[in-house]
């Protein structure tokens, strides 16, 4: 591994961490699309900043671009407040307009300089190590490493300082306001951090990857946990993993690093989406099926309890009467047998003592409409789940 490769991976990981932190809060605050809007609308800010400074890495440019990002947020909120259109429409109206202004500015004035739309949108991580920062003639590392490093440090220190405030205002705005810290300040603070991160990272990894790095790790982590600290840690972990793994995929395929990092992010999300223990698709489908069987079981037991007559409880009659498909009837019957809730004698099904108790309790809960308690009760009674 050459030093350039290590540097690229380092930059990618730092960007991933710097994006994952604000990203987590954006996802929790249902403002994920704002990051997309910001990443596009910083373009005019960058262009104007570039005219003033003539240097793609100067802090003024980053500040100007971040300022455009905040303007976007304010504009979106203003349009939304007029009540003429909904929030998502407002976002969809504002950022293409700003982006168009940026594109036109570039086309009119900056055709001959090193600044084009592709570079802003897509970035090129591979060139990052060649743009060195020289202090007093000595080489202290790639410029973008310093830029994103500083941003990361600021983000982390702000996060630690204001963790409690952020947490409260994210989950309970009213409480936050009544506790005396203004949700508006936190809101705009978060927005500024997101804009600055986006701007700082765009030149290394491109605007689209910034969005991917902000949303995807946070969304993936959200599927796995509901604890804010764990979610942050997981998001950071996913970010770093995808950054490094993505780099090697790109290396192997000889393709865009930004693209392959987001592809890896996508794959990670897909895996978690399918296999997450409690919220993944497969888990959800399994649970739905389990509940379906258990509800059937309950209906079946209720039927038994209501009928004392022998002929009503004959297996053949039950088949006919309840009219389930064979497989399903068999599953339900097996489950009931396994849990010692019924016993079958000469094809006559009857409730055991335990089954009887279970059924009466279930009826109680259903009558009092405390459906939630049925889940606990199932835990008490079931040896095997559906």
């Amino acid at each position: 591994m050459s030093s350039a490769q290590i540097e690229i991976q380092l930059i990618a990981s730092i960007v991933a961490v710097a994006c994952a932190i604000p990203g987590t809060f954006l996802v929790l605050r249902k403002m994920a699309m704002i990051s997309d809007a910001i990443s596009h609308s910083i373009l005019p800010g960058i262009v104007v900043g570039f005219f003033i400074t003539q240097d793609l890495n100067s802090p003024v440019l980053i500040l100007l671009a971040a300022f455009t990002g905040i303007i976007t947020v304010v504009l979106v909120e203003y349009i939304q407040k007029t009540g003429l259109v909904k929030e998502d429409t407002a976002i969809g109206l504002v950022f293409p307009a700003l982006f168009s202004i940026g594109v036109i500015l570039i086309a009119k004035n900056a055709n001959d300089v090193h600044l084009d739309v592709d570079a802003v949108l897509l970035g090129e991580l591979a060139f990052a190590p060649f743009d060195r920062l020289l202090i007093g003639g000595t080489d202290v590392g790639p410029k973008s490493l310093w830029v994103v490093g500083t941003i990361l440090l600021v983000t982390i220190s702000l996060l630690i300082l204001f963790f409690k405030e952020l947490k409260v205002s994210t989950f309970d705005k009213g409480l936050a306001a009544s506790l005396g810290f203004s949700p508006a300040i936190i809101h705009y603070g978060l927005m500024s951090i997101s804009s600055i991160t986006t701007v700082g990272a765009f030149d290394a990894v491109g605007a689209i990857l910034v969005v991917a790095l902000m949303i995807a790790p946070a969304a993936t982590a959200y599927l796995l946990t509901t604890d804010l600290k764990k979610m942050l840690a997981l998001a950071i972990g996913f970010g770093i993993f995808s950054a490094i793994f993505g780099y090697w995929v790109a290396h192997w395929l000889d393709a865009s690093i930004a693209g392959s990092i987001s592809t890896v992010l996508g794959l990670v999300f897909l895996l978690v989406y399918l296999f997450a223990p409690s919220k993944g698709i497969i888990a959800v489908m399994y649970r739905e099926k389990q509940q379906q069987t258990e509800v059937s079981l309950l209906t079946f037991l209720l039927h038994l309890k209501n009928h004392d007559e022998l002929e009503e409880r004959h297996v053949n009659h039950l088949n006919e009467h309840i009219n389930w498909q064979k497989v399903r009837a068999q599953t339900v019957l097996d489950l009931a047998l396994k849990n010692n809730m019924i016993h079958i004698e000469k094809n006559i099904v009857s409730l055991t003592k335990k089954g009887d108790e279970f059924t009466s309790k279930a009826i109680d809960y259903i009558m009092t409409n405390e459906d939630a308690q049925i889940e606990d009760m199932k835990d008490d009674f079931f040896l095997f789940r559906g």
């Binding site: 969809g92 995807a216 599927l223």
Partner: protein, 344 residues
């Protein structure tokens, strides 16, 4: 046109997501066929756009992630994947690959006649489908549950609308590019929404706005050098939106402000009249003159309100004195009972 449905269904950003999600489709179609035939590329874009859309829908329904997260996720991931494929293609020894990235930013000038025909045909198709299923679309839009109880196949209609939105976006990609497509979808519809409450008028207006911004945008961009068509069209459309926001008669900001001022004036007038009534009541003769000075320390009073009251024939002025007329007295007496109906 189809944008109207997107706006009303609160799926505005879907357009943005789809236009990004179409990119890997274009790349894959190119990888498979190895040719830069517009139609195959479009079919690829259509398929991946649809996959993106349905994945977004399933994320929203099956997990607790919100729609904005799902949109952002799919958008950036698909786009990143598309970029990966595009850069991968660029390394391939195939001279044909140049120009694939034109799809990213769009270039209306590169359109050839067959593309235009293709668009015209698809637009016509959209129109026909929209007219046939007009009632279903409309009812689904405003009350999905009711539609279901009426026995319509909501899933089918939903998929139909989505497919056409995706189709429209994919076609538009060539003209204005990935980033600006969402504005093309949204802006005319958002502008049209300000002028009307009726769906059919809105769709019609949106089509006109869209066409106008297209024509104007192209004209402006053609008149100057170095001005790409897409951004100019989008800016023109945005101007339409801003104009509609401010000047539309019933919802616009300008008229809203005017209405607020007018209401305030009316209220002041009523207050003055009520105060006068209060004073006049103390005399047997309602037309007994009082000094104007009396009104001075009353906050609702200004010279112009008094003037207006005179114009309405509620008050007579004689030098420094005023007196209520008969009609003025009656109006004032009925003011409170009448006010609620009058203000409507």
């Amino acid at each position: 046109m189809l944008g109207s449905f997107a706006v009303l269904r609160k799926q505005s950003l879907l357009g943005d997501a789809i236009s990004h999600a179409a990119l890997p489709g274009i790349a894959i179609a190119f990888l498979i066929t190895g040719a830069k035939d517009t139609n195959t590329l479009l079919i690829g874009a259509l398929i991946s756009g649809l996959i993106g859309t349905f994945w977004i829908k399933s994320i929203v329904t099956k997990t607790h992630l919100k729609s904005d997260t799902a949109l952002g996720l799919i958008l950036s991931l698909f786009f990143g994947f598309g970029m990966l494929l595009l850069t991968f293609i660029q390394k391939q020894p195939n001279a044909n690959q140049a120009g694939l990235d034109k799809y990213l930013f769009g270039q209306a000038a590169t359109l050839v006649e067959s593309d235009v025909w293709m668009m015209a045909i698809v637009t016509g198709l959209c129109l026909i489908v929209m007219l046939t299923f007009w009632k279903e679309f409309k009812i689904l839009l405003f009350d999905a549950d009711y539609t279901k109880t009426l026995g319509f196949n909501t899933k089918f209609i939903d998929i139909l609308i989505t497919t056409f939105i995706v189709l429209a976006i994919v076609l538009g990609l060539q003209t204005v590019g990935v980033v600006l497509m969402s504005a093309m979808l949204l802006a005319p519809a958002a502008a049209a929404r300000q002028w009307t409450n009726s769906l059919s008028v809105m769709v019609f207006l949106a089509a006109i706005f869209g066409a106008f911004s297209g024509v104007f945008g192209t004209a402006i961009s053609a008149s100057q050098n170095n001005l790409s068509t897409g951004p100019v069209i989008v800016l023109v459309a945005s101007v339409f939106v801003a104009f509609s926001f401010i000047f539309s008669p019933s919802r616009g900001l300008l008229f809203k402000q005017i209405r607020v001022i007018k209401n305030r004036r009316d209220l002041e007038l009523h207050k003055t009249l009520a105060f006068m009534h209060h004073i006049a009541e103390t005399h047997k003769d309602i037309s007994h003159p009082h000094a104007i000075k009396l009104l001075n320390n009353f906050q609702g009073y200004t010279k112009s309100t008094l003037q207006k009251l005179v114009e309405k024939d509620y008050v007579q002025i004689n030098g420094n004195m005023w007196s209520l007329t008969k009609t003025g007295f009656e109006t004032a007496a009925n003011l409170y009972t009448k006010q609620s109906t009058e203000d409507e």
